[in-house]
């Protein structure tokens, strides 16, 4: 129940990758036959990836993952601009965007961190109002990693196009969960990561629309059209493209199945007293459930669940390793004690109805046990 953290690699994906560790170990840049064969595999992977996203193969760049794609885009666009400018992002981005924006701010750019409503949604009018003549980039995530809330990408894209502002979206949580068609969205950059959709870790991709330009952060070779130099992670690239192809082929079926499980989970969990749902009731990822159990602390809940064989995650301070609860839960207006009692359950391909039934048996027991120890709870 922690698939937003990561997912297991599908068996058929592992099988497809193995030859590229063994007999097909060649370097795609080599002129000889082995190199050419491997080059063909990389380019086929690029075509598959593009097809799955509604993009052109020349618009796909393989990277080390979501964080690298975000850095290449944001830092690269700032570098390309060459003078201070204005970036608009949201206050609930993943740290892989937030921290890059904060660094760019420290380097002289201006950054607006847009507030969100209590569901975690960006307001497009506020976005529009924040634009200044030197705004050169929007970076708004497609779906939030903690609370699963979806952002209005199409509307944000329209605003971006109208004002000729580049639009980047961190879609690490969305890709493989919900269909995406880049032809119909005015998105200029999109980051994705393979291990979120049953692909391998350490490999991701950046979609960069034809005509959009950034200055590369690294130099050293011509790979990925100089945007991401370094010998390609061929097994990873092959694994990513197959995992994405399979995920997209099954996307509607999986979505229906997980949405039904999610709805059942939310209903069952909200039957526990003083429990609230975090995020939007409908506009959320099919696999995301995030609730706060009042009067108890998230890390203790995680430990209690772990002892019963259930893995989840929490936005509490104790589990984040700092003194403050998650910035996302604070941004949607939760007070500290409520944020401390938050738990994220995230479903994956392997989860069944039986898993959800078991979870709904265990959670009330764990919550009740901890509440009996709590000084603020009065049954």
């Amino acid at each position: 129940m922690d698939h937003s953290a990561t997912t297991p690699v599908r068996e058929e994906v592992v099988e497809a990758m193995l030859p590229f560790y063994r007999e097909l170990y060649g370097n795609p840049s080599s002129v000889h036959a082995l190199g050419r064969t491997v080059r063909r595999a990389v380019e086929e992977a690029r075509e598959k990836t593009a097809l799955a996203l509604g993009a052109e193969p020349t618009e796909i760049y393989f990277t080390a993952g979501g964080t690298e794609s975000n850095n290449i885009t944001l830092r690269g666009a700032a570098k390309k601009r060459g003078k201070p400018g204005h970036i608009i992002t949201s206050s609930i981005e993943h740290h892989a965007v937030l921290d890059v924006c904060s660094e760019l701010a420290a380097e002289g750019h201006r950054v607006t961190f847009l507030p969100v409503d209590h569901y975690g949604r960006v307001n497009v009018n506020q976005l529009q109002a924040a634009i200044t003549p030197d705004t050169f980039m929007f970076s708004i995530m497609a779906a939030n990693n903690e609370i699963g809330t979806l952002q209005p990408l199409a509307e944000i894209g329209e605003v971006a196009r109208e004002h000729q502002i580049l639009f980047h979206t961190d879609a690490v949580q969305l890709v493989g969960q919900l269909p995406i068609d880049l032809k119909s969205l005015n998105v200029d950059f999109l980051s994705l990561s393979a291990h979120k959709f049953n692909g391998p870790k350490g490999i991701g991709a950046l979609y960069m629309r034809k005509g959009a330009k950034v200055t590369p952060l690294y130099c050293g070779g011509g790979q990925e059209r100089k945007l991401r130099p370094g010998t390609e992670n061929v097994p990873g690239i092959v694994g990513l493209s197959l995992a994405l192809e399979l995920a997209v082929a099954e996307i509607e079926e999986k979505r229906k199945r997980l949405e039904a499980l999610r709805t059942k989970m939310i209903k069952g969990l909200l039957a526990i007293s003083e429990t609230i749902l975090n995020g939007h009731p409908e506009e959320r990822l099919p696999n995301n459930v995030n609730v706060s159990f009042k009067h108890i602390e998230g890390e203790a809940i995680l430990l209690g669940l772990d002892l019963e064989g259930i893995a989840a995650s929490s936005g509490s301070a104790c589990s984040s390793g700092s003194l403050d609860p998650s910035h996302v839960l604070s941004a949607i207006g939760l007070d500290h004690p409520t944020a401390h009692g938050s738990i994220r359950f995230s479903l994956g391909r392997g989860n069944t109805k039986e898993d959800v039934d078991y979870l709904l048996q265990v959670v009330p027991r764990v919550v009740d046990k901890l509440r009996r120890i709590s000084p603020t709870y009065h049954a």
Partner: protein, 127 residues
Amino acid sequence: MYNERVVEHFSNPRNVGELPDADAIGENGSFKCGDTMKIYLKIKDDRIVDVRFLTFGCGAAIASSSMLTEMVKGKTLDEAMEITNQDVADELGGLPPLKLHCSNLAADALHNAIENYRKGKGKIETA
């Protein structure tokens, strides 16, 4: 992350609850980092004869609260004042470094209870 002893105290915390006829009540913690402990003492001839606790906090906070209540039963108030948060962590066989400062609050709550008692305002007014 936690050793077996910590997990055991977390799973089966000792002396949970309130003491309706407590002679002293103490509290420690901060809602900022999340953790709060409330401790109830029954005291006879300057000796702790019974103890209960309630804690809002992570696994380490609950385990250290439970451990402390085992350590103080039967101790004189002077002996109890000597117990430190570090003693509680040691008795648990250690806590993760990150938890030592934020979740290890049981001894401070105990000292607070004893100070309240000695100041003569340990009677239940807050309950």
